[in-house]
């Protein structure tokens, strides 16, 4: 009997070590959902009065204190635009590089691979200043849409070492015979890459594509630093400007908008569990 109690106590202790802290982010998520539908600002977790009012930002102007933001949809469009630029660019660059790294015995290959791992470890966010300078020189700063493109390019550049590495892993898994057969048939290397190999590693490509999309959708730091024109804000930048609006806080609106914003993220997270873990395993710094 004593033993059972003792075991139970130890079990509880062990579980609580990792479950109790978990309560905090879970509490936060629960609040997010509760607050978005609650009429009044809720203290604690109990919603009071059900309302869809906070979601009115989906079809109306966003009124926040004395500021009126036009619709939410241009902002969504901006975020999607960012993702739309990022995904094909990142896929293209990493898949072509991965193929070379995997297959071809060119000199310098080892050095480049070392270099990729190096870039991985190196915190790119330290170079935001110089990246700003680069964008200014390229004429991609402060000019509306071009700034969005600039942000997309920076983000792609930061992601590409890791995506190339992951795709290399996929390419490595394809037996050489397939390629050889295609080459014998008279294809150039380029055709082999495009028509034979890429379709085979479709799961890898889609993983990278999804990851790129999520990376773009959720990107806050770089967008916040570089995007200055409210007309071209992406979703997270709009959210942060609402938070830093120092005279007013409309919790309901913030919660509803955040909920709306993270739904794609959560959905994709649920769907791509395995690949995400694999990506993280290769030592990615946050994100």
């Amino acid at each position: 009997m004593k033993r059972k109690i003792r075991n139970l106590l130890i079990n509880t202790l062990v579980y609580s070590v990792i479950v109790v802290p978990l309560a905090i982010p879970l509490l936060g998520m629960a609040w997010l959902v509760a607050q978005s539908f609650s009429e009044k600002v809720i203290v604690g977790l109990l919603p009071s009065g059900f309302t869809l009012e906070h979601f009115s930002f989906l079809w109306r102007q966003i009124k926040f204190g004395t500021k009126v933001y036009p619709n939410i949809w241009p902002v969504v469009r901006n975020s999607l635009f960012l993702c739309l630029i990022m995904v094909p660019t990142e896929v293209l660059i990493s898949s072509s590089a991965a193929y070379a790294l995997s297959r071809m015995k060119a000199p310098g290959r080892g050095a480049i691979m070392n270099f990729i791992v190096f870039l991985h470890a190196f915190p790119g966010v330290l170079m935001l200043i110089a990246l700003l300078y680069l964008l200014v020189q390229m004429g991609l700063y402060g000019k509306g849409v071009l700034t969005l493109i600039g942000v997309a390019l920076v983000k792609v550049a930061l992601n590409v070492p890791m995506s190339a590495w992951i795709l290399k892993g996929f390419f490595d898994g394809i037996p050489w015979e397939l390629e050889w057969a295609a080459l014998v048939d008279g294809c150039t290397k380029f055709q082999v890459w495009k028509k034979v190999l890429l379709p085979i590693i479709k799961p890898g490509i889609s993983a990278i594509a999804i990851f790129s999309f999520m990376s773009g959708w959720g990107e806050w730091l770089i967008a916040y630093t570089y995007l200055r024109d409210p007309e071209y804000y992406t979703f997270p930048v709009l959210l942060s400007s609402l938070v830093y609006e120092f005279r007013f806080v409309d919790w309901g609106l913030l919660a509803a908008m955040s909920l709306f914003y993270i739904i794609p993220t959560l959905v994709m997270y649920a769907l791509t569990q395995k690949t995400l873990l694999k990506i993280q395993l290769v030592g990615a710094v946050k994100g």
Binding site: T66, G142, R247, V249
Partner: protein, 523 residues
């Protein structure tokens, strides 16, 4: 198969042949007019001949008139040329587009609206001068944090798309002048001096590095607010309440007394906190220093100055407020505006070291938990105002009065037009709207006569009577922002109870000695 081909060719040939025939026929068949028509034509020809000679004579008439006009035109062209050089380079015809970014407290949207009205006025003038030039302006007003404004302006500047006019947009006029972003306005002021006839010199003749950089838009005056309803609950009579402002203004009641009153109110549980001041850094925080006779800038030497003894008294005041009397939260200097206004408007704080524009802001923004926007009646009934009390007995009560001004940026292609627009924006009729809405003092004396101002400007009128006891807020020195940073740092630590007032003074002095080059430090 072959037959079908042949027949197809035949059909095609036929069609082509028909087309060619039709074309030829069209061109090659002049039908001579019957003789009767020929006569008609002849008479018509004679008619036209005579008409032609008529027109010929008219033409020579017009020709002489034309040369007359031509000479008149060249005269007008000379005058126009003079006017043109007067107004700077602008197209002979077309549209001039200006952009203006305005910042400020929430109720100051008129800063942008008045620019639009100024443009309308300017267009009327240009039209009456007979010039085919139109001015258009895209003036936006937004209320955003200082950092956001600065980075937005910086981004626009880098992209060479900076606005022509800015006001209160992240950077102070002194900073803009230092960065080379502002246009010196001296010659414009001279040229258009009549437009500033009823604006006090102290508002526009603010020189930095020998030049004027600003066009006054309004005058902000700091105001010390108190809750009359709380005082009533403390047992004060109406006379005592009404006399409070007067006693503060003539120095009878000092900050010492205020802290006592605040403590009493807190002890009685009537308020959460006794005294609130603004988030740092900011102008109103330096008022108690000026009250002691201290100054941060010496106009004669052009250097920054600090006085150790006065700084000691200054920091002691805040030390008392937060650590001794405990009427102010020790985190006051980092408290956000939302909390400050909500707390004061809902009567949870007794005293607020604010500015005149808050009076307007409370009536335009829903801070009150039940009433939303305050009505003028509520404000007059429950909120009293005065100058800032003297820091200690013997010091002077007072406040800062300083103009907030438009600055013309050097990326502008039409600086003189922008200057005119900014000047016209403060035309008394327009200015009255802004002053009433935002509760700020006007730049033109004439504005006080505008009917709207007379009717609704009671608050501002009372304030204007106190302007005699105010100090100017203009510190034209490039290193002022560094001193502000040092003072804010020291003040934060004093309020948090981390250092004593004396240590704060030492901190300020040692940092000033290392970091600021152009400063005089006295005892």
């Amino acid at each position: 198969m072959a037959e079908k081909k042949v027949s197809a060719y035949v059909v095609v040939a036929l069609i082509i042949g028909l087309l060619i025939g039709a074309v030829i026929g069209y061109f090659v068949k002049p039908v001579p007019p019957p003789p009767a028509e020929l006569e008609e034509l002849r008479s018509k020809y004679e008619e036209l001949s005579s008409k032609y000679s008529e027109l010929e004579s008219k033409y020579s008439e017009l020709e002489s008139k034309y040369s007359e006009l031509e000479s008149k035109y060249s005269e007008a062209e000379k005058a126009y040329g003079a006017l043109k050089s007067l107004l700077g380079t602008f197209p002979e015809e077309g549209v001039i587009k200006l952009k203006a970014w305005c910042g400020g407290a929430p109720a100051e949207g008129y800063r942008a609206t008045n620019l639009e009205r100024g443009v309308e006025l300017l267009n009327k003038i240009l039209k009456s001068l007979g010039l085919n030039v139109k001015v258009e302006i895209e003036a936006t007003f937004e209320h955003i944090p200082r950092d956001a404004a600065r980075s937005r302006l910086m981004a626009a500047w880098e992209a060479k798309e900076a606005p022509d006019i800015v006001i209160d947009y992240g950077y102070s006029p002194v900073e803009l002048a230092d960065m080379g972003w502002a246009v010196p306005l001296d010659e414009y002021f001279e040229r258009y001096s009549t437009l500033f006839a009823d604006v006090p010199r102290s508002m526009w003749e603010l020189k930095y590095k020998g030049h004027i950089w600003t066009i006054p838009q309004d005058a902000a005056m700091h105001v010390f607010y108190f809750r009359k309803d709380v005082l009533r609950k403390m047992g004060w009579s109406e006379e005592e309440i009404n006399a409070l402002a007067t006693k503060i203004n003539n120095g009878e009641i000092t900050f010492e007394d205020i802290m006592e009153i605040a403590k009493e109110a807190m002890d009685k549980g009537l308020v959460e906190w006794g005294i609130y001041h603004r988030k740092g850094p900011g102008g109103s925080l330096w008022i108690p220093y000026y009250s002691l006779g201290g100054r941060f800038y010496d106009p004669e030497t052009g250097k920054l100055t600090i006085s150790k003894s006065k700084l000691l008294d200054y920091f002691t005041l805040f030390h008392k407020m937060t650590q001794v009397y405990k009427v102010t939260p020790p985190t006051m200097i980092a408290t956000d505006w939302r909390k400050i206004h909500t707390d004061f408007v809902n009567g949870r704080v007794l005293f607020w070291m604010g500015g005149s524009w808050h009076w307007g802001e409370w009536q335009r923004v829903e801070y009150h938990e039940t009433l939303g926007k305050l009505t003028p009646e509520y404000a007059w009934e429950n909120i009293g105002f005065s100058l800032y009390p003297a820091t200690k007995p013997g010091a002077s009560p007072g406040a800062f009065v300083g103009p907030h001004s438009y600055v013309i940026l050097s990326q502008s292609k039409y600086p003189e037009i922008a200057f005119l627009v900014a000047t016209l924006a403060t035309t008394p009729e327009f200015e009255a709207d802004h002053c009433i809405e935002g509760a700020r003092l006007p730049t033109h004396a004439g504005t006080r006569g505008v009917s709207k101002f007379v009717e609704q400007g009671k608050f501002l009128a009372e304030l204007s009577e106190l302007t005699g006891k105010t100090w100017a807020e203009w510190i034209p020195h490039g290193e002022w922002s560094k001193l502000v940073e040092i003072l804010t740092e020291a003040l934060t630590k004093v309020e948090a109870g981390e250092i004593s007032p004396q240590e704060a003074v030492d901190l300020v002095v040692s940092r000033a000695e290392t970091e600021i080059t152009d400063i005089i430090i006295t005892d």
